[in-house]
């Protein structure tokens, strides 16, 4: 059913900052059939539910806004908003029980658009609420929860990219200055067709994190709406066709499997009722810790105490035909050509490699991850944390080492770039990017003003001295699990300069050796062979000498 729903969403326009040319052009003819098929099949999709929301008086409308729809939902689902108010999806704040750090989009800094502070209405187009346009947003208002963004099954509901989480209620131009008008979604029709979230609902935000398709994660992008078997064996539309919550189990609107508290190892194995933690957000919770079976090489199961499943089974990320952003250099932003026209440069595939608003980008597909020991602990450099600007600043520090029983070797997308910082206070800057005010960088292209406004909006002070510092942000790679025949072969790591060449603290056959022993041993063997050759040659000469005499 999920495939049917996602099929219906073929024409869905994701919330993106950058309008990429679509890799597939669908003819109108095909579209017609898709719409027809989805109409027929979406009725089937609801067959499992005991409620037909189109028959509810409360949902007859009309609705003048998203919150009006929410009020109708809450009339029956009395506890829903209270549940959501407790989630990170709503609060954008997360108290990490391991590190004691306050995380969440409200508190962390990244090396994409850096921070949410002062940029709220743009960032919160991916918030599950309505109206988070500044720091004064009321997090207790129940009607501000956006039910539809997760529960719409029509594929027609879209938050407007710059309206703080609201859809547009009147026709509005998007992308800006293109003349293309975006029509407001039909809230009544959508409210009457709510259901369980599909990949498309989650993907609306999670596939487009960082401002565009595949920008942030690389293992989550638009190819995951309808992934092939080669891209993701679990979500394969023609195979298992998992939804997100098949693994990210949910109850009371709380979703299992957060990156902030990654479970780097799961020694509980397969989760069955009465045992385990009731979540399926680790590989082991379905596959166990001896997953390779009798047909597999027994040695593979003996790796599970040191190597995460995804290390071998996600051989590369960004495999779905989309590129992911690997480098973002803010320091070059703001350039205009000789006619005063802002510069935008795109590569052959239509990906911007330079954008005057944002600087230089590098995009990559089929990216080989970097590997680290990881025990689930990640320490973040949150807003206002001191940095050492003499080298690359690690925005998050991945915990774990070889000797740590909870640590496994994990794959990471390491996003690198150069971003503004306060050179005197040694803190990462919070640039105020988006807004109609003159402080906004995308309005005036004046870094000191933008940094001052951003830092002050996040409760800090700007010394006036800014620069750009190289940063790295490590993202654990978990999705895009490949078919087993595509899993990494042993020699990918067990070789002199394999993928794990830089991991320290342990001896790995095939990679490591004692150079002096190899030299000594080689000399002994070669010396022996040399001695044999001399001895043999001397015997031959002596024998021919004897024959002559």
């Amino acid at each position: 059913m999920i495939s049917i729903l996602s099929f219906a969403n073929t024409n869905r326009q994701p919330i993106t900052w950058e309008a990429f040319p679509s890799p597939h052009r669908t003819s109108r003819f095909l579209l017609f059939f898709i719409v027809l098929a989805s109409a027929v099949l979406s009725a089937q999709a609801h067959a499992e539910s005991t409620a037909d929301h189109s028959k509810f008086e409360e949902l007859k409308g009309p609705f003048d806004s998203g919150p009006a729809v929410t009020r109708a939902c809450l009339g029956c689902h009395t506890e829903a908003a209270k549940q959501l108010h407790k989630t990170t999806h709503w609060t954008w704040a997360f108290d990490n029980p391991v590190t004691g750090q306050q995380l969440g989009k409200k508190n962390i800094v990244n090396n994409f658009c850096v921070a949410t502070a002062s940029n709220w209405p743009r960032c919160t187009s991916c918030h599950i609420g309505y109206g988070w346009k500044d720091a004064n947003f009321d997090l207790t208002a129940e009607e501000n929860v956006d039910c539809l963004v997760c529960h719409d099954t029509t594929g027609k509901y879209k938050k407007f990219p710059t309206d703080a989480g609201h859809p547009n209620y009147v026709p509005k131009q998007w992308p800006p200055k293109t003349g293309k008008m975006r029509q407001p979604p039909d809230l009544v029709q959508i409210a009457q067709h709510v259901g369980k979230p599909s990949r498309d609902n989650c993907g609306t935000c999670h596939f487009y994190g960082g401002g565009g398709d595949g920008v942030k994660h690389g293992h989550l992008d638009s190819s995951m709406h309808k992934p092939t078997h080669a891209v993701d064996v679990h979500m394969d539309v023609d195979g298992l066709n998992f939804s997100c919550q098949t693994c990210h189990t949910a109850g009371g609107h709380e979703i299992a499997g957060s990156r902030y508290t990654t479970k780097a190892s799961d020694d509980k194995g397969i989760d069955i009722p009465g045992r385990g933690d009731g979540s399926r957000a680790t590989c082991a919770s379905c596959h166990g810790n001896r997953p390779h079976g009798d047909a597999g090489n027994a040695k593979l199961d003996q790796h599970t105490d040191k190597v995460a499943c995804v290390t071998c089974h996600v051989p590369t990320f960004a495999r779905g035909g989309r590129k992911t952003k690997m480098w973002w250099d803010w320091s070059t932003a703001g350039r205009k050509d000789q006619h005063g026209k802002p510069i935008v440069i795109k590569d052959a595939d239509g990906y911007p490699t330079y954008d005057f608003k944002k600087g230089d980008f590098r995009w990559e597909a089929n990216v080989v991850p970097e590997y680290r020991w990881f025990n689930g602990r990640i320490d973040y450099r949150t807003l206002g944390a001191k940095i050492d600007d003499t080298g690359e600043v690690e925005i998050n520090l991945i915990g774990g080492e070889y000797g740590d029983p909870d640590a496994r070797i994990w794959p990471f997308k390491v996003m690198r770039g150069r971003q503004p910082y306060d050179r005197e206070n040694k803190i990462l800057a919070v640039p105020h990017l988006f807004g109609k005010d003159d402080d906004a960088y995308w309005k005036s292209f004046d870094w000191p003003r933008a940094i001052k406004a951003g830092l002050e909006a996040s409760g800090q002070r700007f010394s006036g001295d800014y620069g750009f510092v190289q940063t790295a942000y490590s993202w654990p790679v978990t999705h895009m699990v490949a078919p087993k025949q595509d899993a990494l072969a042993c020699d990918t790591c067990h070789s002199r300069s394999g993928r794990l060449a830089n991991l320290e603290g342990f001896y790995m056959p095939g990679r490591d050796r004692f150079a002096w022993l190899d030299l000594l041993g080689g000399l002994i063997v070669l010396g022996t062979i040399g001695g044999i050759a001399i001895h043999g040659a001397a015997r031959l000469i002596a024998r021919s000498g004897r024959r002559k005499s």
Partner: protein
């Protein structure tokens, strides 16, 4: 010249199986070590493991056989003067075409150098390899065996060192076994058929 039965059926079987396994282990072992590239790491390590267990079974049988049949006595070291006689032979006599200082019979298969070489093989190089190899292969069970303090590096070091010694031994063994008999490849034939042409009139004591 007389045709003497020197190598019993089990001994020949043991010899050739051991030869096959040792050479397989050397090749696959040096691939696991990253020195050569042929089968790929996975197949090399798989074959290495299978060959290792096979060799251990074979060695257990061979040790049992040597002990129960009294064949072990053929590895008792000779006195120094006899050893030196062999050294002199390989260092000098062999070039002059002198006869071999010792002759063989059923219970004196090995010359003094062979006694020493094979004894070293079985009580030094062999155990160095199979003990370090057993510890290596038990790596996934170290915690349960109370070996958590151990690191793989020194185990691999000893095992690799043993492999180099074994390879050097194999080179010398092949050279002497294939080139020093009176008849062309006489020793090779002997190890196949069990019989060797022995010149009983030759000088020297049996050893």
């Amino acid at each position: 010249m007389a045709r003497v039965y020197l190598y019993s059926r089990f001994l020949r079987l043991y010899h050739w199986l051991q030869a096959l396994l040792v050479m397989s282990l050397l090749v696959t072992g040096f691939e696991v070590h990253g020195t050569i590239h042929w089968l790929g790491f996975e197949r090399a390590s798989d074959y290495h493991r299978v060959a290792a267990w096979s060799l251990l079974v074979l060695l257990a049988l061979a040790w049992f056989w040597h002990i129960t049949t009294g064949e072990w006595k053929q590895y008792i070291p000779s006195p120094l003067d006899r050893l030196l006689a062999m050294v002199r032979y390989y260092g000098l006599g062999i070039f002059k075409g002198e006869p071999h200082p010792f002759h063989k019979d059923r219970w004196h298969r090995h010359n003094p150098l062979q006694r020493m070489a094979y004894l070293s093989l079985h009580i030094l190089i062999g155990p160095l390899l199979w003990i370090s190899g057993l510890v290596y292969i038990a790596y996934p069970y170290w915690q349960r065996l109370g070996l958590d303090g151990l690191s793989l590096a020194p185990v691999a070091l000893l095992h690799t060192a043993g492999a180099f010694l074994m390879l050097a031994f194999l080179c010398v063994h092949l050279y002497l076994a294939l080139t020093t008999s009176e008849q062309t490849l006489g020793f090779l034939k002997g190890m196949v058929t069990g019989y060797e042409e022995v010149d009983n009139a030759q000088a020297g004591d049996p050893h």
